[in-house]
């Protein structure tokens, strides 16, 4: 049984088709990185999973049950677009409201626990409107974590978080799925961060799922490259460009050669042309580059 199983999902807003024929599978225990450009249909899909907007067609199953089933819906933690907090109330009050919503018996203890998890216990008395963006995100995640949810649906949860916040979120995500039953769907444009925790990926474009894969499959399909620096970068780039099909200069100033070649081959080729290699290494492209390649149709 999968945590989420979507078949042929569609959503129309008037004549505009936001999601069309989308299939998606989130296994139990997965951290599912849901990736796509702005307006690709990520948030719409997440809202349909949460039952916030009715579907125009297709089916959504959550843990084998229809997404409208109250039992399974009551175990979804959500952070979509905004934390959903009342700005004039304190962080504590907002958490207590959510605890009341979820009928949590020992609300105060549970609220303290989740606030500690996201390192916000010291700011419980702050009014929500006075919190920084990062603090607000943490509160939003704490609200989503209340009631020990089975499925977390998080839309851009990493926005505004500092390095420590990102690290905490990674720990929280890994802790949530540690029992192998609970799952997380997380959409983010911070692909580097997402790659550190995601076990599965789904890439959506124009409302359609163009690719679903595990982290291992992504790793296997990511192209290797040789990155190097020489004493004559421009000439090196020109020479390598003549010999190999794809040669680029990256943001750090390295020349990247993407063909299946060994560093030794490049070193000897440049040496024969009178160029000395000062630095050289092999690496793999990350999720971000893979995604950009995919969007360009370059893969």
């Amino acid at each position: 049984m999968n945590a989420v199983e979507i078949k042929n999902l569609s959503k129309n807003f008037g004549s505009k088709q936001a999601v069309c024929g989308l299939d998606m599978t989130v296994p139990m225990g997965a951290i599912y990185g849901f990736i796509g450009e702005n307006g690709s249909g990520k948030s719409t899909t997440e809202k349909m999973i949460c039952g916030l907007i009715p579907t125009s067609g297709g089916s959504i199953k959550l843990y084998g049950k229809d997404y409208t089933d109250e039992a399974v819906r009551s175990k979804i933690g959500v952070l979509i677009e905004s934390p959903g907090c009342f700005p004039g109330l304190t962080v504590w009050d907002n958490m207590m409201i959510q605890a009341a919503n979820l009928n949590i018996p020992d609300a105060e203890r549970e609220v303290v626990k989740v606030l500690k998890t996201v390192r916000m216990e010291g700011a419980a008395g702050n009014k929500f409107k006075n919190c920084s963006l990062g603090m607000k995100q943490r509160v939003g995640i704490a609200m989503a974590l209340l009631g020990n949810p089975t499925l977390l649906v998080l839309d851009e949860p990493l926005n505004g978080l500092d390095a420590d916040g990102m690290r905490i979120m990674r720990e929280v995500f890994l802790d949530v799925v540690s029992d192998g039953k609970r799952s997380i769907i997380v959409s983010s444009h911070l692909l580097g961060e997402l790659q550190k925790v995601a076990t599965h990926y789904g890439i959506i474009r124009h409302g359609k799922m163009i690719c679903e894969m595990t982290a291992d499959e992504l790793d296997a399909s990511c192209r290797t490259y040789v990155a190097l620096k020489t004493g004559e970068m421009n000439r090196s780039k020109m020479l390598l460009g003549c010999k190999y099909s794809r040669v680029e200069e990256d943001e750090a100033g390295y020349i990247r050669v993407y063909d299946l070649i060994t560093p030794e081959e490049i070193v000897s080729y440049l040496y024969e042309n009178g160029i000395c290699v000062t630095e050289i290494m092999t690496d793999k492209i990350g999720l971000e580059e893979y995604y950009i390649d995919l969007m360009k149709g370059g893969k």
Binding site: I53, E70, A71, S74, G84, C85, L89, D93, I97, K181
Partner: protein, 278 residues
Amino acid sequence: MTKELKFESPTFMQRIKGMLGVDFYRLFHTPLFYIFLCIAAIIPAMVSCLTMMPDANGNTMEPLYSNVWQIIAASEPLYVIRTIADYANMNMVFIFGGIMVSIFIGHDYKSGYVKQLFTTHAKKQGYMISKTLVCAFAMACMCITYFIGGTIGGLIAGYETTVNVGSLIIAILGKIIMSLGWASLYTLLNIIFRRYFGISIASSFFFGTGILIIGAAAVVENLSIPTGFLNIFLYGASVNACLVSNVGTLIICIVVSVAWTCLYNFLGTKILSRSDVY
């Protein structure tokens, strides 16, 4: 060993309890409720007292009322108003209440909290019921502070106090019961106009003033048709609860309030079930 996942459907009572918990917590933890309680107390006190205050020449206005309790309820059912005194009574609470409900529900949407609510609560009926009950409670409290403010103001102004106590109590109870119907109407209006906060407030104000029924009453009066049938409407039944009320008046208030509440809750649930949550 991994623990088994258990999914238990919340009962109807659990759903309502959760929603009521949220709404009552918000009501008591935000200044909005207390501000409107004060408004409901101050306005009748001011209306009673201001007419007794002398102007620069030492002249006072013609008193609006002759009796303390006329600020609470009209002397008789007055569907068509001729003076401000015919209008200014506890029915004004339903206007203040409409604005309060608009702000209260509007914040649900503005803050994005509805996403939390509607994710965990698949059935929308609980939202309508909870909002109606909590807002009716708030308006009932406003009726009480209105009564206190109006009474103090009337006593300060020196109006006479003779009244049929039974009718007065029935009138107040009737208006408190009508709070339920009004709260459900405002909840429905705010769900219809949930994306337009300003229109929500304007529509609540518009319906709360009872302009439609006052207009209808004027037409009915000109056509020499008995105005009693206007009691089937919220404003009509609210006006009907006056200083000559009897048990029949109370029954009308209960039936009308509950009937409209059921209808508005049904419509609100249908609209919510078919609409997107933003």
